[in-house]
């Protein structure tokens, strides 16, 4: 029973991390139909901001967390301003190629100016510890990640439901032209979408880095891949889909980790993707069906 609870928490924290990343992809996609494959580089840039801060300024370790989140957010806004805005009205493939371009550029800048090898990054000691809930000993990072995910998603919902810019983002997901006809500035809506995606990526980055203890230029690849799979699994473009897809993917990974015999445990991801494939064969529109949620693309 304890083991079950421990693994459930583990699943929630991994699922929450994927959900944060998937939501970032989905919110940008819902507004401008761009699959931002440079999303993973936000994680790397947040991580390198931590590394460089330690190298040059040596701030207290806890201060690295806001630095990481802030830099990820700022990078997302810069990507939009510098790379995506000029191709905003180009065909979708141009946007996709631009995203790959940004991704490769950032990776190579990190390789050239920092190093290809992983660099250590500290996170606060207490994040690495365990705590007891009742008679369970659980890793602090998992508890924290679950809580932070819930808080972040609540904040996102409040933004989308209670603010003018949030209303505009939800409406723009289906009909951007009419939103602009209301006098809402397209640039503001799009920049907010990127800022939110960067914020969520920055939060996820803190947890990713606290687990790995190091950064490397290519560290964003696997997370963005997982986020993409989560989005497809849930139903692309739907925010609810991204959330559900992220949670299901995380739970599936942890579940398979637990049940797979050790000889095949190395192929866990293959099993996960096989499962995702099967789900999509049965339900091609994703787990969260079409018209169900805000941000759903197809009408």
């Amino acid at each position: 029973m304890d083991y079950f609870l421990q693994q459930s928490l583990n699943a929630l924290s991994v699922g929450g991390e994927y959900a944060l990343l998937a939501l970032g992809l989905a919110i940008v996609f819902s507004v401008i139909r761009l699959v931002n494959f440079a999303h993973g580089e936000l994680i790397a840039l947040g991580g390198y901001a931590m590394y460089l801060s330690v190298l040059f300024a040596a701030p207290p370790v806890y201060a690295l967390i806001p630095i990481c989140i802030f830099v990820a957010m700022l990078s997302a806004v810069c990507f939009e301003r510098v790379a995506f805005r000029p191709v905003r009205n180009a065909p979708p493939t141009t946007g996709l190629l631009t995203a790959f371009g940004v991704s490769i550029l950032v990776q190579n800048i990190l390789v050239i100016f920092v190093a290809t090898r992983p660099k250590p990054v500290p996170t606060p000691d207490w994040m690495g510890g365990t705590m007891s809930i009742g008679d369970l000993d659980v890793p602090v990072v998992q508890v924290l990640e679950t809580i932070v995910t819930v808080v972040a998603i609540t904040g996102l919902l409040l933004l989308l439901r209670k603010t003018q810019i949030g209303l505009a983002m939800r409406a723009a997901a289906k009909d951007f032209v009419t939103v602009r006809m209301m006098g809402v500035r397209a640039n503001r809506v799009i920049m907010t979408a990127f800022a939110v995606s960067g914020l969520l990526a920055g939060i996820a980055a803190v947890f990713i880095i606290s687990r790995r203890g190091a950064v490397d230029p290519f560290m964003g690849f696997i997370p963005v891949l997982k986020a993409f799979v989560a989005c497809v699994l849930g139903g692309f473009g739907s925010l609810a889909g991204a959330l559900v897809g992220g949670l299901v993917l995380g739970c599936a990974e942890v579940f398979l980790q637990v049940v797979l015999p050790s000889q095949v445990a190395g192929f866990r991801d293959a099993f996960v993707f096989l499962m995702v494939g099967l789900i999509l064969v049965m339900k091609p529109e994703g787990l969260v069906g079409k018209k169900v949620e805000l941000g759903d693309k197809d009408e």
Binding site: Q164, L167, A168, R170, A171, A173, K174, D175, V177, T178, V179, R180, M181, M182, G183, V184, R185, A186, L294, E299
Partner: protein, 246 residues
């Protein structure tokens, strides 16, 4: 009368298609102008050009004395032109109230916006009853009311309505026209695109008739209504349909 909206020699092209050719159109302060013509005449293209949604190939649009031809879509409404687009285009996933809030996006006076939402609710009781419903659950007529109410939220000086009666039952069409008459009596300037020529002519001051992208006639509403030629050639359907449904 001073021209509030002044469209000069406007042309719109979609690739090789010339949807609108050198059209002039004036709407005076306080006037109701009807824009008539059969399907594909270029009415929506003209509205889209005014709204900044499609670029002008030739000509320009002046509003209140300023050239607004090159303004971005979001700046047009800030100048005081509110467009209720063809097909209503309410924000389907947003509630009625949220639609109205977004209609007031250019306004900073929160209290004023809240008051105007209430005023809209008293003008459109049906919307009040559905305030918290998603717009997609409204009927076509209710959605049209919502679209007009949303347009009014920006406090426009000119309201442009693109086929507000399209696809609605005769009873609802009457309601929409009653509503427009009310807005006229309040002094709102309006440019109304209609295929429902008879009804539109009965309440407009002047009318323009488009056909195949060109303006084939303009004059007072009475002149157009009394011109058998025009009606037979371009507006026959509209008049006939209303005659039948009356």
């Amino acid at each position: 009368m001073t021209a509030l909206l002044d469209v000069r020699s406007a042309s719109v092209r979609y690739g090789a298609i010339a949807a609108l050719r050198n059209v002039d159109l004036v709407v005076g302060e306080g006037e109701i102008v009807a824009l008539l013509g059969p399907n594909g005449a270029g009415k929506t293209s003209l509205v889209s050009a005014i709204a900044g949604i499609v670029p002008l190939a030739t000509g320009d649009v002046h509003f209140d004395g300023a050239n607004i031809s090159n303004l971005a879509v979001e700046d047009i409404v800030r100048r005081g032109i509110s467009v209720t687009p063809e097909g209503r285009r309410v924000f389907a996933d947003l509630t009625v109230t949220e639609n109205l809030q977004l209609g007031a996006a250019i306004r900073a006076d929160r209290q004023g916006v809240a008051d105007d939402i209430e005023r809209n609710f008293s003008m459109f009781p049906i919307l009040k009853a559905r305030a918290r419903s998603e717009a997609k659950t409204l009927s076509g007529g209710e959605q049209q009311m919502l679209a007009i109410a949303r347009s009014l939220m920006s406090k426009p000086r000119l309201l442009v309505l693109d086929e507000p009666s399209l696809g609605l039952a005769p009873k609802i069409v009457d309601q929409i026209f009653e509503l427009m008459a009310k807005l006229r009596d309040e002094g709102l300037t309006m440019l109304v695109v209609e295929q429902n020529a008879a009804e539109a002519l009965s309440f407009a001051d002047r009318a323009y008739v488009l056909n195949s992208g060109e303006c084939v006639y303009s004059g007072t509403a009475a002149e157009v209504a009394n011109s058998d030629d025009l009606i037979a050639h371009y507006l026959g359907d509209g008049i006939a349909t209303t005659a039948l449904t009356d």
